[in-house]
Point group: C2
Chain length 343, copies 2
């Protein structure tokens, strides 16, 4: 009898716990939070671009170009310089810094490339609809890679292995890569940079994927309303009203005020513990501080230190598994390859 | 009878060819050229440092630190910035350019890290006896990574995964990594960066590893006397008299004049077709031009365009197979990690 009581009690506890677990997962889903699909087929439906389909050949070529500093005017800066795959897909400095050590003129922080495929828009002001379009920007921006489309085309066409790889990728023996094609294959590589995490396992129904503290953090995150902007698969990536920054010190850094409607792209929270400093101008280095400021400026709610700590714990579960990246060995320059220009 | 004659002739040709092949390989060896050993045991005897033995744990940790820009003052420059493993172990610009976009004050070109373990000395003026000592230099140099030893120690000790990895690598639960230890594990990683090539197969006795033109190039390379400096496993790496540059345009670039005895470290020719521009000041972009200038200034011999072309073909056989490098995912910074300082 004693044994049976124990069994019954255990069953009762499991029952309650299962209901509670189910409830929080359901609550998260109702709030618009979505996992990265475990199924590769489902995932590819989400990350693929029918106008620029993902293929192995394009991913491999795009990866090389993503890491190739010769696309820049100086020959020293690649996409990976500011969106470093080794460090959460960012550069770890407050304002993006590129050609001639020039900081972004609006003091904008480099957003992570990881999971950027899930964003509704690209760039802080959302001016770009997709990664193909976005990739053309930093290559040409004067304080970033500072290259012209002509420079990029000259570099790529001067290196026979690249031309061959484009011909293969586009199945066209006469293919002559243009600037847009370079951006397109880089975007294809970027589309594969997704980082599933314990949080996704949790949303898929695995209750024990998150610790007690992480679940408490998730609940607070939802209850406080953070999820009204940090939602969807990326927990961010959509345009939202620019923070009411008036009374905060960080408001004085940079002159960015959002797009013409005063909207700003919400950053993703995936891998957020790897991507400090925070905010569009990289003004805040502590995640707890960032959480509390956002509560106050965006939601008009107070988030206590204890609550911020739990939300931070939840953010830890958003640190995802990074794709396996073999560091590419790039094809050699030739006498036709433009010389770097550091001025 | 006819058939038999044919067979005899073939045998005779093979015989002659084999003798000729053997002769050139022997000639190369007599001239001091040596292959990278195929045997891993033999290789490790050459690349290991008894004072800082190679272990898997140190290689893996050293690789992370080699790629970690947080060791620099700015947080933007890693060892790999100037010694980029993707581009022949160099940066592809004439003068190494680092912190605040500052060029090397003597206009010195970044030498490749590949096969540097085989050099007798490190740095162009040979001031460093080994990679362990060398690795401490660029991290601290103001126009390179511009860090202090204290900065490096603070960064590494602020990141628990790094501290743990050092404890594991040195099998000491109380290990507290110092600046020297950081340089040591980076050096261990660098010791593994060797690139065996077709040329090594050839020297090991495989005649068909080189094409006819490549062999002709090798013969000219030896006969002209290039091998008097470009010798040993690295085809370079020893201290030799600084070129008599007086009458050449490139002499006017930079103020480097060699060490106090007017000696300069001969660069390796391995992967030379991937490491333009050439010479200590990166003044020459065409390898044929570099070959001809070296003949005239260092050897007092004229190398014709045709001969330079064949030597270049031989250099193609020195392009080696690069080690498989998984791009490291670096441990996240913490609130204790020093913030980058771009000034």
């Amino acid at each position: 009898m004693k044994k049976m009581t124990v069994l019954f009690s255990a069953a009762a506890i499991i029952g309650v716990s299962a209901v509670a677990a189910e409830a929080l997962i359901q609550k998260a889903k109702n709030a618009g939070l979505k996992p990265i699909p475990e199924s590769k087929t489902e995932l590819y439906k989400l990350i693929d671009n029918p106008k620029n389909p993902i293929t192995d050949a394009k991913v491999e070529l795009g990866k090389k170009l993503y890491f190739d500093p010769r696309l820049s005017k100086s020959g020293l800066i690649s996409c990976n310089t500011c969106h470093n795959l080794a460090t959460g897909g960012v550069d770890g400095v407050d304002a993006a810094t590129g050609h001639k050590w020039t900081a972004n003129p609006h003091h904008l922080n480099s957003p992570t490339v990881y999971n950027a495929v899930f964003f509704e828009k690209q760039f802080w002001d959302g001016r770009s609809p997709d990664l193909e379009d976005q990739a053309q920007g930093p290559i040409q921006a004067a304080p970033e890679m500072a290259a012209t489309p002509e420079h990029v085309e000259k570099v790529v066409n001067s290196i026979p292995e690249y031309v061959k790889a484009f011909k293969k990728a586009y199945n066209d023996p006469n293919f002559k890569p243009k600037f847009k094609d370079v951006a397109d294959v880089i975007a294809v590589f970027e589309r594969t940079l997704v980082t599933p995490s314990r949080y996704d396992k949790y949303l898929a129904g695995c209750d024990k994927a998150l610790s007690k503290e992480e679940k408490e953090g998730l609940k607070i995150f939802i209850d406080k309303g953070c999820v009204s902007c940090h939602t969807g698969i990326a927990l961010g990536g959509s345009m939202q009203p620019f923070p009411a920054v008036g009374k905060y010190k960080y408001a004085n850094i940079g002159d960015f005020k959002g797009d013409k409607n005063g909207m700003v792209k919400t950053p993703t929270l995936r891998n957020i513990l790897e991507t400090r400093p925070y905010f569009h101008n990289g003004a805040v280095w502590s995640i707890e501080e960032a959480i509390k400021i956002m509560g106050e400026t965006q939601l008009g709610v107070k988030i206590t230190d204890k609550e911020a700590k739990k939300i931070k714990a939840f953010f830890g579960a958003l640190t995802g598994e990074k794709p396996y990246v073999r560091y590419p060995m790039l094809p050699a320059s030739t006498d036709k390859t433009p010389k770097p220009d550091l001025n």
